[in-house]
Subunit: 500 residues, 2 copies
């Protein structure tokens, strides 16, 4: 057996284990009966331990090292070796005691966070967060950071190759623009959106509509599904098995529509990997940020555009004949693009959303650099909310305690959301240039051309280049805030009739 | 770490792998998108290979050997060591080349069988069956058979401890009784059952009714589910995660009702293992036959009884108010107990069903003993059908080619169905003795007492005794055809007004 063949069979095994883990996790959030929760935890724990054992086996390490320098491997083979070796190195640096302590701390921490959020008591959560941060600092030390910046080591978990030193000036520039735009829009007249919650939106019609919209954008229901869960997510188990979830509320049809487009964007990425990448470590996205660029592109650039709704308001009228009585496309576009500083990140509009992220990024960095104490987080949070958005949370439940990410001790995750937004505009503009009829196509519901362009330039390549390099190859542009800010100014300037 | 602790952690890992495999198999038949089929096969293959590797590791073998004789282990621990060692020994005897050849032959064989069945061409299937039988003969040799009877080694796959030499006289005795009963009933007047297929039975109402009946028998929907699949089945992933499936047809409400009771019987067994058996090799049933006894008990002894329908006809009337207009409990009982020699095993009634099994058992034995050639199977089949049931298949599609079991080369499986029927009557009669109000309880829908008795005497014990020993401990009776034949004579004699 050649070295490559042996490497490949071990790689296939790892990918199969990851796929099985994916289905078990999906089932846990969709169909699993509640009493199975503990035994599902055991099963997932065993699969993860097996994965770790096989990934870090001395034989696979030797194979990856030997194959690492070989020039006669194909680009996909080279990427597979590179990506597997990267994961291997990081996994080997984290001792199993550390992994176990993190998992246990996360479990108790999530429970404490739930209580703290409900009762608005940050103190209940603070000692757990402190322990998690100690563990994350350890993780950063164990993984190592050539720059000496601990945050870099954590960022690498989600955004390989990205550095804090790149993000800081980028995000500072973005913040200045956003604060300015928010201020200007606050002076403008806000559209009336009360009609949405005042009407009743049939749940069955919402579900059917979400499926129609997903099929229209080219999501392959022969290679995927949409089910229900408490929070929408996308879980892949290979490019021909992509599971989306959604949830439906009677007082708001747009929440499920945008979740479908958002998760559908993730889903198209997963379904779009070239078949040759199947079971290799070259499949998957190069980063969370570029994955998020695809969900944001479909949700915002497509789904919140005037062009899309000029054609799709008829879908709403057919799905909800009563609730839509007398509602125009213009009213829909205004409702889904209302800019309003608000407390909750996941409900924020396109303009204010990234300020929620930048605030979190700054606090995470302050903590990891030792410039901010956990006990001072609520005050720092509220101060920044006031400064960036002009509002103050009435309690920590809708403030510093709102997200689950810190209850897992996930530091370095939030920035990927903003990177996704920045990438999404770059990529969409490149698609617009390549597809001169794109605007008319959005109106006509002819979305397969866009999907094909994204597939060819982004999805099909999987993780054969890093995220930034991939976006640059697809768009000719380096990462910057320029396109995103221009897009916001143009879109919301026109919508609000304000010079931005 | 003590030997037991080390053994236990390895055993837990195996059970978790089996649970994960269970969920992936369930998903494959229920929700998996069609294009995922090939990658699901890869994932299942990897999990099975890992399971085999861990089960047969030299260290686990040594541990099982060392713990095997220890008297200071609890009965559950002893059963775990015994059952794991048994599986280990059998797994080690089958070389991986043989396992791979069987899997490949099964895959091509199933495809050939589908064509053969559809086109009524046994010749298309015959060479595949010959190859499968060669592999099964090899398997019997590899596994070894103290009695020298190859069939025993295969029987052991499904019914540990059972021997051909025990089955042959038992089944011969049963056959004589059944052929006699069938002849006598053929002379009696058959009830009119045309009304069933002439009416339309709402599919949604069928599904809701099946859930009501399952809940009534004590199936815990917090620790299980019922979904749809082409063929109903039960797949457990631990005692708190039991997945049943069903299917619904507009021209027949009873098919889905009896599938619910049947799979529900399997499901109660799986949910009934004592919590202390969780993740051990003492959980699970001691044989397929005893598992089948539980499905048959609920489907037939409970579900096809007059007592049950006197109380439950009102459920039908509420579920199908139009279709049930003018239908009495008596008509229902007659319709679901119509005895009629028919071609298809899975549609057969309680009396003729086991003749279908005995016929297959005799043919399997003839083949394995070299007394019958594959090419002569269709003729032998038709001859026995004529002899036992008085009917001849018009083609092999509804004859020798009807079951998928032989397309997998599964020999030794069919007898477990009849063993299940024999055990079911024994067990039900013991429950009747212990629960004097059982008949009235069936009418009143008070089924939890029966479930509790079954749980206490059968389910909770898992595989701490063999199947026969367990039934004997629960009922005080040894395996025999007596109770089953008496039950049939009494029930169908009364129903048909014929002296049997």
């Amino acid at each position: 057996m050649s070295q490559w063949t042996e490497f490949e069979s071990k790689m296939f095994e790892l990918r199969d284990l990851a796929g099985a883990t994916g289905i078990l996790s999906w089932d846990q959030e969709t169909f699993m009966p509640p009493k199975a929760s503990a035994s599902r935890g055991e099963q997932l724990g065993t699969l993860q331990a097996l994965y770790h054992e096989r990934l870090t086996s001395p034989r696979l390490e030797a194979l990856a090292a030997e194959l690492g320098g070989k020039a006669d491997l194909s680009p996909i083979q080279q990427a597979s070796v590179r990506n597997l070796a990267r994961e291997q190195t990081r996994a080997k640096r984290l001792p199993s005691e550390w992994v176990r302590e993190l998992a246990e701390t996360q479990a108790t921490s999530v429970e404490a966070w739930k209580v703290a959020r409900k009762e608005h008591k940050f103190d209940v959560f603070a000692p757990h967060l402190e322990k998690l941060i100690r563990l994350r600092r350890q993780q950063a030390e164990l993984l190592g950071s050539p720059s000496g910046e601990a945050y870099d080591a954590l960022l690498e978990n989600f955004e390989p190759g990205m550095l804090t030193g790149r993000l800081e000036p980028l995000f500072a520039e973005l913040r200045a623009h956003l604060v300015d735009i928010v201020k200007k829009l606050a002076a403008a007249k806000a559209p009336d959106t009360d009609w949405v919650a005042q009407r009743k939106w049939d749940l069955g019609a919402q579900q059917r509509l979400s499926e129609v919209l997903l099929a229209e954008m080219g999501f392959d229901f022969e290679a995927g599904r949409q089910d229900r869960s408490t929070h929408p997510f996308t879980q892949g188990a290979g490019y021909q098995d992509v599971r989306l979830t959604n949830r439906f509320a009677e007082d708001d049809p747009f929440s499920s529509i945008f979740s479908a487009l958002h998760e559908g964007g993730h889903g198209l990425y997963e379904q779009g990997f070239a078949p040759a990448l199947h079971r290799t470590f070259a499949s998957g996205a190069p980063s969370m940020g570029i994955h998020e660029s695809q969900s944001r592109l479909w949700e915002n650039l497509v789904g919140r555009s005037e062009a899309y709704w000029q054609g799709h308001v008829s879908h709403l009228q057919r799905a909800f004949p009563e609730a839509m009585l007398g509602v125009t496309a213009k009213q829909v576009v205004q409702a889904i693009n209302k800019v309003e500083p608000s407390l909750i990140r996941v409900e924020a509009d396109e303009v204010t959303y990234n300020l929620h992220i930048l605030l979190r990024f700054e606090l995470e960095l302050g903590i990891l650099r030792g410039e901010l104490n956990v006990r001072d987080l609520p005050a720092a949070w509220n101060e920044k909310m006031e400064k960036y958005l002009g509002i103050r949370p009435p309690n920590d439940g809708v403030g510093v305690l709102q997200d689950i990410h810190w209850a897992w001790g996930e530091f370095g995750y939030f920035p990927t959301y903003t990177l996704g937004n920045l990438y999404s505009v770059c990529i969409f503009e490149a698609a617009q240039k390549a597809l001169p009829t794109l605007d008319a196509d959005l109106t006509a519901g002819k979305l397969l051309g866009l999907r094909e362009w994204l597939r060819t330039h982004i999805h099909a390549h999987g993780f054969t280049l890093g995220a930034e390099e991939r976006v640059q190859a697809a768009t000719g542009q380096a990462l910057s805030v320029g396109p995103f800010v221009r897009y916001l100014k143009q879109k919301f300037g026109a919508l609000y009739g304000v010079a931005l």
